[in-house]
Amino acid sequence: MRNPWLWALLVAGLTACNAEQSTLHVFGAEARAVRQMALVLTIGAVLIVAIMVALYVRAVRAPEGRLSHDGGMRMVLWLGAIGPTLILTALLIYALPAMRPRATAPGDLTIRVEGEQFWWRVAYDPASDLSPLSSANEVRIPVGRTVIFELTARDVIHSFWIPGLAGKMDMIPGRTNRLVVQAEKAGRYRGVCAEFCGLSHALMAFDVVAMDGADFDAWMARSRAASTGVTASRGARLFDAHGCGGCHAIRGTPHDADIGPDLSRFGERPTLGAGILPPTPANVAAFIRFPQDAKPGARMPAYPQISVADARAIADYLKGLK
């Protein structure tokens, strides 16, 4: 009965190639180890199901008395108790090493990520002497180096999950959790919030960019400088006039508020609204006027009083920040 479905599943699974956000398309060492483990566990589970089905069919078909009382008790003892005990003990021993976190050294890159309804506040090297580099809704990591994520939340519980990189870790107000990872392959990926956090929990994702070490270092150096594109444009004036700087920071301008997402180098971001929309100027303008249309429950107030043209000018200004 199930066979046609299994085939359909297999086909669907193979055709639906999702390389961005999947525990099966890995780009980190931790996720690779777990995928390996998942394979072993699945094979074991399939074998056990097959054995159980075979035993059950024999049990139902066996004529009365084929199995004596003592034989039955031996079966319960060996197959029901001793067998599972041995298998589970082996499994525990197999899995224990993977529970140990990756070792860290003093110079390792630390990235602090804070979850908020419904976006991500990101800070690179938060303890460094250089000016801290903050960002939002995008995490960049160097390939081949150990990275320590420090995870917490300001409002409610969120969970930080980059399926291709490593398992998830909760972000809990009042606590700071550590997740230590190492990326193995450069590329663009996606992370999501995995703990239900309110109205737009489904719309809380982020972009992950794994870069070669040298590229990453260059990017860090470039990013610590002021955003390019900070000019006295109409969009910039409107940004000031409507008080956008009351919540948002842009490096190289007087705006350094930390209520909403940091918009420095906004033009570099691959998505808008924490991983949910393509960052076209039209989308940005619409988001400025009615954020709740794209993202129910978003904390940013709506600005219906900003005209479409003005919103578009602000969007163009933001898109120019690189």
């Binding site: 059950y56 079966m75 489904a202």
Partner: protein, 840 residues
């Protein structure tokens, strides 16, 4: 009465007329709802729980429709969050647990050859509470006010009133009310199993279903109270702004997660073990032999229950707990598979050794086992912490838990439905429709949930109202949706089968040729339960004891008559079921319903912040309870003893540890103490979280003086009551009354002294988690002091009214049990809040 007398058909007919008259259900449009007989209340209970299951199933269908294609906008985020919260909460609290209790209320007396459960009115109270609470919680979705924080209700999302609305209160208070009714049913079932077995049915002859009821009811007793404690803290934060879960004021969101999952994990086994119990009844029937390995399966059930309390942290593997505790809980989570393996292999070995009669119930049981085994194996996978870090809160878990719950609860219930329908209605369900439905359910469940393993591993988180097309999850989700509709159609076929049942002819008695007592039920059901209470000498008496059915039917065993026109059943000893007494059972009454309505008012009015109305309902609840107890319990019989046949003469009154009432009190207080320990756990949890607890600004806490005064008066009140009990038993009625009066005074002083500590030291419960938890402990114990005063007053009044005397002192003995637990709470509370800051 000798055996010989029962040979006379005229005598038997006269006995039957008397039994029929005594057990006649109340008639009339309203009065019929005041019935308390387990057959009637059990059926209402089952139908109501079934209705909630269908309702919650429809919610799931709406969700699956929304998720059928990516970027769908059929329902809003707001509605979707209400849908999944209510779906999970209803299936757990309004279907799975109540359904077990409902089925047990119907079956237990029949399994034990009892006329009814020991406290029929308590069952009715539980039912009405369940109905009111259930309608309140589930109806909220029609007002767009349903809870929307997930069935786990994690704070701070749910405790911050700016982030969550009335729904959170509806969840907390509505379901707390239902938890109360669940605990009430658990008390009823435990006492039923321990005290109301037929003579000769020693513990090791008990039908396995009764063993499982015992195990599961004990689990309810210890699992629900921590959640009730959590609910109390939760509502204190929501209604009064006491910061238990607010990290900015010394609280911690993880405290809720611990309390919730200390309940939540045993809950899984609370709803799974009863299904194994149904298998344990029907497998021997269809294998045509005794179940093989009776002691093994009992030990496995007890072992599962024990282990299930040590696994809760596996729901918290991603909260950043120390790795060593992950390893420990990983091991414990895997270990629970061992007793489960034993139970499954007991069934396989029994089928192997026996001669299998294939049937629709067995088909369902087989299908459930297959689905359950898959769910169990993915359970072992997620018990491995590193795998769980990926799978946790993804659709992989949705797949896992539905395999477990469909294979471990829903399908077994359908097996039980097809098996026991003839017992309840006298008619069989259609084999043909049953099989069609089975294959739809089996295919539907696999088609819905198997793809979810993959969609979860492909990165689809749980509780999302939509997902982007780019992730390539559309195909898998469409399959799941199609499967959900197929599954729903299968349920519809079963409903059609049930609806056709009244038109079908009666089946023969015991149509499956089973061997256990419940199949004595006659198709032309009489309300008296069993014609005469048998002497049981085997686990399968219908198979093993010669002429058994005829002897029961002809009243040749015990208690074949109702000479005094009273509803009665036999009470036996806990271990070896020696007959102890005949007890008079509660008759139909409106009191349980009124008490449930009043108590419901307390919870519902509190939800809407109508505190004066809630207080009025609280007073009404107390009044109804006292009225119910005063008129219906510990009645002094008109004669000390009565004959029950075979030359046996049994007393009509019991007090102390022999009495069902004493056990009920003791068990209730165990639940109370467990809830209390949940609050104490909160205190010490905060202490381990903070380097300075109490914080420096309130280092003196509530001081030492008042807590010690409260402790002293508590202990004196307790000693006075114990003294009253002992002196009263030796005939010192006047001295006992004076001691009770002394006890009342000290209990009343205890209320004030308990609150005086935090009050006089000016602890502000909104400032920090420390004063909040100190206040909570003090209020808890002071409230218990208040109840102590009422109970001591009740005993005194009973004595003055002549309803209690040295030979009939059940009231005073039950009050003493309460006082033991009150004294224990006082010692722990006042030592903790008064002395612990000095040593910490």
């Amino acid at each position: 009465m000798s055996l010989h007398d029962q040979d006379d058909p005229a005598l038997r007919a006269a006995q039957e007329d008397r039994l029929r008259a005594v057990w006649k259900p109340p008639q009339g449009l309203f009065l019929r709802w005041t019935d308390t007989n387990n057959n009637r209340v059990g059926v209402w209970y089952v139908l109501t729980a079934f209705g909630f299951m269908l309702f919650a199933g429809v919610l799931a269908l709406i969700m699956r429709t929304q998720l059928a294609v990516p970027d769908n906008d059929l329902v809003s985020a707001n509605s979707f969050n209400q849908l999944f919260t209510l779906h999970g909460s209803m299936m757990m609290f309004l279907f799975a647990v109540p359904m077990f209790e409902a089925v047990s209320i119907i079956l237990l007396p029949q399994l034990l050859g009892a006329r009814d459960l020991p406290f029929p009115r308590l069952s009715a109270f539980g039912y009405w509470s369940f109905l009111i609470g259930g309608v309140f919680v589930s109806g909220s979705i029609f007002f767009n006010a349903a809870p929307d924080g997930g069935w786990f209700m994690y704070p701070p999302l749910t405790t911050r009133t700016d982030l969550s609305g009335l729904g959170a209160d509806i969840w907390m208070l509505g379901l707390s009310f239902i938890e109360v009714s669940s605990v009430a049913a658990a008390v009823e079932l435990i006492v039923g199993v321990l005290k109301c077995r037929p003579p000769g049915m020693r513990l090791n002859l008990m039908p396995l279903y009764a063993w499982y009821i015992l195990v599961v009811a004990v689990m309810i007793l210890f699992a629900f109270p921590p959640l009730i404690a959590g609910d109390i803290l939760f509502e204190m934060e929501r209604l009064l702004d006491w910061p238990f879960f607010d990290a900015n004021r010394g609280g911690d969101p993880l405290l809720w997660q611990h309390l919730f999952w200390i309940f939540g994990h045993p809950e899984v086994y609370i709803i799974f073990l009863p299904s194994i119990a149904l298998f344990a009844m029907l497998v021997p029937t269809f294998a045509n032999r005794h179940l093989l390995g009776y002691p093994w399966i009992v030990l496995a059930a007890v072992g599962t229950a024990f282990l299930s309390f040590g696994l809760w942290v596996h729901h918290m593997f991603t909260t950043g707990l120390p790795k060593i505790s992950l390893a420990f809980f990983s091991a414990a989570s895997e270990a629970v598979a061992i007793p489960t393996g034993v139970q499954i292999f007991v069934f396989i070995a029994t089928l192997w050794a026996g001669r299998v009669t294939w049937s629709t119930p067995l088909l369902y049981a087989t299908g459930s086992l297959a689905i359950f085994v898959i769910g169990g194996l993915t359970g072992v996978m997620v018990a491995v912490a590193p795998f769980d870090w990926q799978a946790h809160d993804s659709y992989f878990i949705v797949a896992h838990l539905h395999y477990v719950l469909i294979g471990g609860t829903l399908m077994p219930l359908f097996a039980g439905l097809y098996y026991y329908w003839p017992l309840i209605t006298g008619k069989k369900l259609s084999d043909r429709l049953g099989r069609i439905a089975f294959w739809m359910l089996f295919a539907g469940a696999n088609l819905t949930f198997f793809p979810m393993h993959l969609s979860g591993l492909m990165g689809m988180p749980r509780r999302v109202f939509t997902y982007p097309a780019e992730l390539g999850l559309g195909g898998l989700n469409l399959m799941s949706t199609a499967g959900a509709y197929l599954f729903a159609a299968g349920v519809a076929v079963i409903c059609v089968d049930l609806a056709l049942s009244p038109r079908r002819a009666k089946a023969p008695r015991n149509p499956w040729n089973a061997g256990t007592l419940e199949w004595l039920a006659h198709p032309d059901d009489e309300d008296w339960g069993i014609r005469s209470v048998p002497l049981v000498e085997s686990r399968y008496p219908i198979w093993d004891q010669p002429d058994f059915v005829r002897k029961v039917d002809e009243g040749r065993f015990f208690l074949p008559d109702a000479e005094e026109g009273r509803r009665e059943t036999i009470v036996t000893t806990v271990l070896d079921a020696r007959p102890l007494a005949v007890i008079r059972l509660g008759t139909p009454s409106v009191k349980p319903m009124l008490t449930a309505i009043a108590l419901g008012g307390v919870f519902i009015f509190t939800t809407y912040h109508l505190y004066w109305a809630a207080l009025a309902c609280g007073i009404a609840t107390l009044a109804c309870t006292l009225w119910w107890l005063w008129t219906g319990t510990a009645e002094i019989p008109e004669k000390p003893c009565k004959p029950i046949g075979h030359g046996l003469e049994l007393p009509l009154y019991l007090s102390g540890p022999a009495a069902p009432g004493w056990w009920a009190m003791f068990i209730t207080m165990m639940a109370d103490a467990t809830a209390f320990s949940g609050l104490v756990f909160g205190y010490f949890f905060f202490w381990t979280r903070h380097a300075d607890f109490p914080p420096a600004t309130m280092a003196d806490g509530p001081g030492i003086l008042w807590p010690m005064v409260a402790l002293a008066v508590g202990v004196i009140g307790w000693l006075a009551t114990i003294g009253a009990r002992d002196i009263h038993a030796r005939g010192g009625v006047a001295a006992a009354r004076i001691l009770l009066l002394l006890g009342i005074t000290h209990s009343i002083v205890g209320v004030g002294a308990g609150l005086a500590g935090p009050w006089t030291s000016g602890l502000d419960p909104q400032a920090h988690s420390y004063p909040a938890i100190v206040w909570t402990l003090a209020i808890w114990t002071s409230a218990h002091a208040g109840v102590a005063a009422i109970m001591q007053g009740y005993a005194l009044a009973r004595s003055l009214a002549g309803k209690m005397n040295p030979d009939h002192d059940a009231d005073l003995r039950n009050v003493s049990i309460y006082m033991h637990f009150y004294a224990l709470s006082a010692v722990v509370t006042y030592a903790t809040i008064g002395l612990f800051p000095e040593v910490a």
